[in-house]
Amino acid sequence: MIIDLHIHTHPLSPDSSQSPEEAVRYAKQIGLECICFTEHNRAWDENQILELSNQLEFPVLHGVEVDTVEGHVLVFGLHRDFEGIIRVEELHKLVREVNGVMIAAHPFKGFRAFGLSDLNLSIEQASEKPVFRHVELLEGFNGRSLERENRLVQDVAGLLGLKTVGGSDAHATQEIGRCVTIFDNEISKEAELLIELKEGRFRPGILADGAFVDR
């Protein structure tokens, strides 16, 4: 089952230009089988997500992309808003209590004119990023990161023995599906997503020439 785990929509994510309905329609059109809305520090209302999902006849799940002092973290299973900034270890405590999952989002996303990977960052140095001590998974394929930045995440994941997922981080409709996660089993609700993520029954994928392929 092909899922885009990392999508932002307006108005819950003010920097996104797409509505939830637009995102779902486009996801269906390109052949995705499920999407996750992960708004910046804002949780979706469970009933609204269900309503949207039923109305458009497409599975939609939700998480939150939380701003932590140590970097952005995708959180699944914990439904609440976050004000200001939180330390990743505090977030970890909250997520543990609900048996949720934390994924380090685009950990090496750099700047406009250069990337962190351009600063002679070795895999060993990169693996020391504090956020990695508190997450179960890494986003090794992020649709808004450069290829060399994603490659560094994959190398770090290899060194740390962590699995990687893919997510588009789409803020505009055409960005949806650029990176995805391909699950071995069907997923129709959050509890199943959490189990599959924890059990590692998935692999990252990308959209290439109109088709989703494993990476």
């Binding site: 700047f111 406009r112 250069f114 962190l116 600063l119 002679n120 960052l121 070795s122 990023k129």
Partner: protein, 162 residues
Amino acid sequence: MILTYSRNKYAATTDMSDGSLFVQTRVDDTVFSATMDMIVKPPLLEIISINGEILRACSEECQDAATLLQKAVGLQIGTGFIKTVNSLIGESYGCPRMADLVLEGCDQVILRFTVDPLRQILTKSAEELMDAHKMFVAGNPRLIGSCIAFSKESPLMAGVEL
């Protein structure tokens, strides 16, 4: 006309022999005067030490705000950094002036690493310049749409795969 208010803000980076950067920011305006020095260590651009002093402010309470700077130790300059610094040091329960000094310094760190590739481009001849810009954008696609020079309509973008 006599000025009612003036502000002079200066920030600079110096490369140190161990590869880290020494970053200084100074602001001197009619009301407020402060300094901030920090050491930033590449490649993760971590703030490993920071110190500052408020030399002049509107109230004595503000003088203590320099201690807030210690909250920036250990931070890495990167995605979400502006919000992190503002949340830890500035906003309604902190001192936005000190947060601004940190952010100004971090901006210089980013620009310091931008100046080297730009220098290479700007030494090209007029005929080579457009191609050099296009290659730079192709290697750093986050530049696309970041300003008018790298907008889709810009001549610099002609032929660059979007």
